[in-house]
Amino acid sequence: MLKLLRALVLSTIASFFSAGFGSASAATIALTGSDGQVVSLPEPPRRVISLLPSWTEAVCLLDRCDHLIGVDRYSNWPSTLKSLPALGGGFDPDIEGILALKPDLILTGAASKANERLRALGLTVLMIDAQTNEDVHRALEMLARVFGLPDQIAEQRWLQIEDEISQAAKLIPPSQRNLRVYFEVSAEPYAAAPDSFLGQTLSRLGLRNIIPAGLGSFPKINPELVVKESPDVIMMSEGNLVNLSARPGWSTLNAVKNQHICLFAKDIANVIVRPGPRMAEGARAIVDCLTKQVSSGLNAAEVTQ
Amino acid sequence: MLVNVSPALNETDAMTALSENPHAVAVKDLTVHLGETEALKQVDLTIPRGQWTALIGPNGAGKSTLLRAIGGLSGKVAEIELLGQPIANLTSRSLAQQVSWLGQNEQISSDISVYDLVMLGRLPHRPWLGSPSTYDHQIVGDALKRVHADQWRNRLISELSGGEQQRVLMARALAVEAEILLLDEPLNHLDPPHQADCLALIKNLTSKGRTVLTALHEIAMALYAHQIVIMDQGRVVFQGAAHEPQTHRAIENVFDDKIKIYPLRDRWAVLPI
């Protein structure tokens, strides 16, 4: 039943856009979110609340920043958002505050009871889940449609992001290509695997992940694996830094001995890990760190494999 | 030591009832399993009305199991009849009104007052909701007086000693006003003067037509009863009047002749050999 509805909706949208730059003002905007719920709006929303930093950034990327009337507590870019009310997190939003602002649309990235409650209160909630690069591309398309923008705009923005990433990849000196990397996401340790969003960024930059595919996106690994695989560079967020040489066997690692460790400040680490439109910025931060490491002798040719 | 109580009106009622139905409890071929073992093996037994019958026997003989079975606590088995009625035909409530059971090691889980504890004995007669009636209060007061525990009515049960608690539990059993009382080791924790009080109480009950069945390991006390039933390894091995010599020989027999019963004027002393 839902599949039929989805097909109907998509074909309706397609028919509108086949007529050229469709004027969305005369048509209803209908979309299906990642949770299977159909969202329909009579016209592009003018009062938007975003409860996920990635979607806040996406809305601003589409030049609809001024339509935002409230964001979650973690949205911190662009800095003009500071004047907007913070409405809790994605899982525990301030329902009362949201209702008081009378939004036309609420963007969220999480499946939670909050969505059910907000919908029960008569508000429109669009849930978009993003795990991969492609998901962000599709999210941009969806958001463009929501705001009544032509598909081309979303496409342009996406190509821009892609371009920036390619540029960043070119900045990596030839000696750094194919470096073997270990990115630790949190201290348990949870690592970024190739099929995660972050893993995709790393492979876009031509770097090799020591974590094999098929373990899930952010597997909890045995630190012995890192010792066995001996990465060229270890990357992590500053907040996660513990005494690495205290970990058994790690003091023997080349990367630790030669201090080939990329420590990212908290807010930059957030950008790198987060599937969102600022992925190019994240890629640049990684490249920055690698170019700095050249001076301390990091060289792909040195490595045994 | 035996309290003299003037016969009440209900004694004549008891006499007429006796002639109609002489047996309080009739057990036919009862077998009860406790886990893997047979705790009771094909027990045949009749308990006469208006008398005190004492169950004695070595540890593990099945005395407690038999009392529980008669009280309907092992399920309502078909092989037991109370006052002519198979207990399977009785509702839980009517069974509870006819039989009062006082167990041996029942743990009290809340720190309640003595009065409230004895009032719980009125449950078989009370409706599902509502305060106790004046009659309930009267019965509870009487029961407390009979065990000489009335002065503690507002104390918490945990504040009393073992023996004092035992007397309160006895009052609870009395408050049920059941015709048949099943008492499992009622003399536990009681010092000799209070044991004597308990015997007097039982004699009083039977003189009013109630039936009392006790499991006792104090043989000397058991010999004050009207009837003795001797059990060994899940079977009934002897039943007879307490004062008769063959009963005494049977008792000595079941304890491997390690004890001897000596007459002492109008009662008996039981001493190890």
Binding site: E96, K113, E116, L121 | L73, A96, I108, G121, P132
Partner: protein, 339 residues
């Protein structure tokens, strides 16, 4: 009738009246407390959004918090009576870990198959938590083969709790993305309560109260021991099993709507027992009212202390409840010495 008992009954009536009064005051306070402050009250008539906030958010939240607390208080009193243990709480037989597992499963299959999405849309996370809680208790009953053996039942409850927690951990481990959602459920919150939640919880509370009234005598008799209670004609293990099932419904409803709230189900009967001891009909009634008051008070603090930010209410009940039990523990020696 003794004067002691007359005094006890009027004292009880006054307690109930006082608790009902406090409850009304707290609910009224609940309308005033929220992240937007007094604004909605001031603009109640002019602004339809204010009306929505007061009528659709604050009032159902407050009443819902009260009902959830009442459910937990009632179930706690029943659990302590049925298991003859003053440390029993409503989560004894695995309902807490069952609810967590239900939520974890729902979050995990989300976005998977359309079939899963369909059921998720129908049940919601609330329904998943409820189903999980009730299933856990059913499993406990099955494992213990009925309610005959109290010790076996308690042990089965522990086993089911541990296993369900482990499975929840495995799910979270495999899909670490659900961790945050799971945690926000576990910490407890009333911010998602609606009038529908109030109706459901109110209905379940009514069922629970009727069952309690019918079975209060049984719980009274159980003070003397299971066999004695049987001999008094008021207890059968089967009835105990029915009571456990009803408890699973009441706990499930509370947990599904409010999350895992600690200590309310443990502390409310304790407080009730300082006024009423042997009478479970009265104790359960008191415990229900006290539970409601406790949770609503904690919720008001949760909403008001760091406004406009909200603390998870489970943290407050843990702090307050834990503090009370600490005090209780250190108070005991002095009372025992009076002899």
């Amino acid at each position: 009738m003794t004067t002691g008992h007359q005094r006890a009954t009027t004292w009880y009536a006054w307690m109930v009246f006082a608790l009902l009064l406090i409850s009304c005051l707290l609910i009224a306070a609940g309308i005033c407390v929220g992240s937007t402050g007094f604004e909605p009250i001031n603009t109640f008539l002019s602004n339809p959004a204010s009306h929505d906030i007061l009528w659709h958010i604050r009032l159902p939240r407050s009443i819902g918090a009260y009902l959830a607390g009442a459910l937990l208080g009632m179930t706690g009193a029943i659990a302590q009576g049925l298991f003859r243990n003053p440390l029993a709480d409503p989560y004894l037989l695995g309902s807490a870990s069952g609810a967590s597992l239900g939520v974890a499963c729902a979050l995990m299959v989300f976005g998977g198959s359309p079939f899963a999405e369909y059921w998720l849309a129908r049940l919601g996370l609330t329904g998943a938590a409820f189903v999980g809680a009730v299933s856990a208790v059913l499993l406990t009953l099955l494992l213990a083969r009925g309610a005959q053996d109290r010790l076996k039942l308690l042990l089965s409850g522990v086993i089911v709790s541990v296993i369900f927690s482990a499975v929840t951990s495995v799910i979270a481990f495999r899909s670490p993305g659900i961790l945050q959602a799971l945690q926000s459920f576990l910490l407890g919150s009333t911010s998602f309560m609606s009038w529908a939640s109030c109706v459901v919880m109110g209905g379940v509370l009514l069922v629970g109260l009727i069952a309690s009234a019918a079975l209060a005598r049984m719980l009274d008799a159980l003070i003397l021991g299971e066999r004695t209670a049987m001999s008094l004609g008021v207890y059968q293990p089967v009835v105990g099993g029915v009571l456990i099932l009803i408890m699973s419904l009441t706990t499930g409803a509370a947990v599904a709507h409010a999350g895992l709230i600690a200590f309310v189900g443990l502390v409310a009967p304790h407080l009730g027992r300082s006024f009423v001891k042997a009478n479970h009909a009265k104790l359960i009634g008191l415990s229900t009212l006290i539970g409601g008051v406790l949770l609503l008070a904690a919720d008001l603090l949760a909403r008001g202390l760091l406004a406009p930010e909200e603390l998870p209410v489970g943290i407050l009940t843990a702090l307050l409840g834990g503090g009370y039990l600490c005090w209780l523990m250190y108070r005991q020696p002095s009372t025992r010495q009076t002899r």
